[in-house]
C-alpha cells in the first residue's frame, strides 16, 4: 500500500466516522427532466472545485464511441 493509498483509506474512514457521529445522512436532491439528469446546485457546489465532474469522468462506456467509420478500418 502506497502512502497515498494509506492517506485515502484514512480520509475515507474519517469521513464515514464523522457522518456517523454527526448522525448525518448525505442528501442528494435532483430530478429527471426530459430524460436528463439534473442535480440540485447545493449538492454540486461543494464538489465543483475539488473533484472531477461526475458527468464526464469515470463513467461506464460499453458501446462504440465514434459512429464515424475509421479510415483505417
Amino acid at each position: 500500500m502506497t502512502k497515498h493509498d494509506h492517506d485515502f483509506d484514512e480520509r475515507a474512514k474519517r469521513t464515514v466516522t464523522k457522518l456517523e457521529q454527526d448522525g448525518q445522512k448525505v442528501q442528494v436532491l435532483g430530478r429527471i427532466r426530459d430524460g436528463r439528469l439534473e442535480i440540485d446546485q447545493s449538492s454540486l457546489k461543494e464538489l465543483a472545485d475539488k473533484y472531477p465532474n461526475t458527468n464526464m469522468v469515470f463513467v461506464a462506456l460499453n458501446s462504440p464511441f465514434d459512429p464515424v467509420p475509421c479510415k483505417d478500418a
Binding site: 497515498h4 442528501q27 464538489l47 464526464m56 469515470f58 461506464a60 460499453n62 464511441f65 483505417d72 478500418a73
Partner: protein, 274 residues
C-alpha cells in the same frame, strides 16, 4: 508485456479474478483485463492477433486509464460520499444509454451470431443500469431523495432476450456493426472494467457492513459481465481480422486507442497528466 501477464483458469471464481486484477500494476492492467477475459471463457480463447494488437497499441499509445494517477484521482474523489453517489447515478444512466446503442446495432446486424451477441450485451447493460442503482441503495441507504430515486428507475430501457431488437429512433448506431465498432467496444469495455475495479474498492469502504455481502454479490456479477463483453468482442475482432492484411488490425486498434485516450484525457482535464 502481455505475455508476462498470468492467465487465470476458467474454473477460477469471480472473487479470485477480482483479487488478481486489482493487484496488477496499473501499467499492466489494460493487457491483464484483455488476457484474463479471454482465459475466463470456456473453453478459453487465445486470439493471438487480438492480443498482439492490444499489446502493440498499449505500448505505442499508453492509455490514461492504465496510469497510477488515474486511480489516484478516483480514490481521492470517491472518498467523498456525495461524489461517489453522483458517480453511481451517472454510471446507471450511461449504462442505460449504452444499452440503446447496442440494441440498435443488434437490430441492424446482418450476421445472426453477431446479432445474438449484441442483443445479449444490450440486455446486460440494461440490467447494469439497475445494478448501479441497487449498489447506490445498498451503499448509501436513504442518501437520495426518494422521489428523485424513483425517477432513476427509468434509466434502464428494460430490454429482455425475449424482445425483438428494433433500431432506436435517432440512434447513430442504427447500422450494421463493423470491425471498427467491435474494436471501439472492446477498448471501452476494458476501461469500464478498470473503473469497476476502482469502484469496488471505494464501495467496500462506504457500504454499511450489513449490506456488504449483497453489494459484493452484485459487484461480482458486474465484473463477470464486463469480462464477458471484453472477451466476446475480442473473439469477433480476431475472426474479422482474419480477412485483413498484415498489420491492419494493429493499426486500427492503435488508432482507436489513441482516439479513446484523447477522449479520456479531455474528460479528465489535460492538467491531470501534465
Amino acid at each position: 508485456m502481455l505475455t508476462n501477464v498470468p492467465s487465470i483458469s476458467a474454473a477460477s471464481s469471480t472473487r479470485d479474478v477480482y483479487v488478481r486484477l486489482k493487484d496488477e500494476p496499473m501499467a499492466d492492467q489494460v493487457g491483464a483485463v484483455a488476457r484474463v477475459a479471454l482465459s475466463e471463457r470456456a473453453p478459453a480463447d487465445e486470439c493471438p492477433a487480438y492480443l498482439a494488437a492490444v499489446e502493440g497499441a498499449v505500448a505505442a499509445e499508453p492509455p490514461p486509464f492504465g496510469m497510477e494517477v488515474y486511480r489516484s484521482v478516483y480514490r481521492h474523489a470517491a472518498a467523498n460520499p456525495t461524489w461517489l453517489i453522483l458517480s453511481l447515478v451517472r454510471n446507471a444512466q450511461r449504462e442505460g444509454q449504452g444499452a440503446t446503442d447496442l440494441w440498435s446495432l443488434a437490430a441492424c446486424a446482418t450476421d445472426g451470431h453477431e446479432q445474438k451477441l449484441l442483443k445479449r450485451h444490450a440486455v446486460d447493460e440494461s440490467r447494469h443500469a439497475k445494478v448501479y442503482l441497487a449498489l447506490l441503495d445498498l451503499s448509501f441507504p436513504d442518501a437520495v431523495d426518494p422521489i428523485f430515486r424513483s425517477e432513476m428507475n427509468a434509466f434502464s430501457p428494460d430490454y429482455a432476450l425475449a424482445r425483438e431488437p428494433r433500431p432506436v429512433a435517432g440512434s447513430l448506431y442504427a447500422k450494421p456493426p463493423t470491425l471498427d465498432d467491435f474494436v471501439q467496444m472492446n477498448i471501452a469495455e476494458i476501461r469500464t472494467t478498470i473503473h469497476h475495479l476502482m469502484q469496488r474498492a471505494a464501495l467496500e469502504t462506504h457500504c454499511p457492513a450489513a449490506n456488504l455481502p449483497r453489494a459484493i454479490k452484485l459487484l461480482n456479477a458486474l465484473l463477470r459481465d464486463e469480462l464477458s463483453h471484453v472477451a466476446y468482442t475480442a473473439v469477433l475482432i480476431e475472426r474479422k481480422a482474419a480477412a485483413l492484411g498484415p498489420g491492419e488490425l494493429s493499426r486500427l486498434y492503435s488508432r482507436r486507442l489513441r482516439d479513446f485516450n484523447r477522449i479520456t484525457t479531455e474528460e479528465m482535464g489535460k492538467s491531470t497528466y501534465d
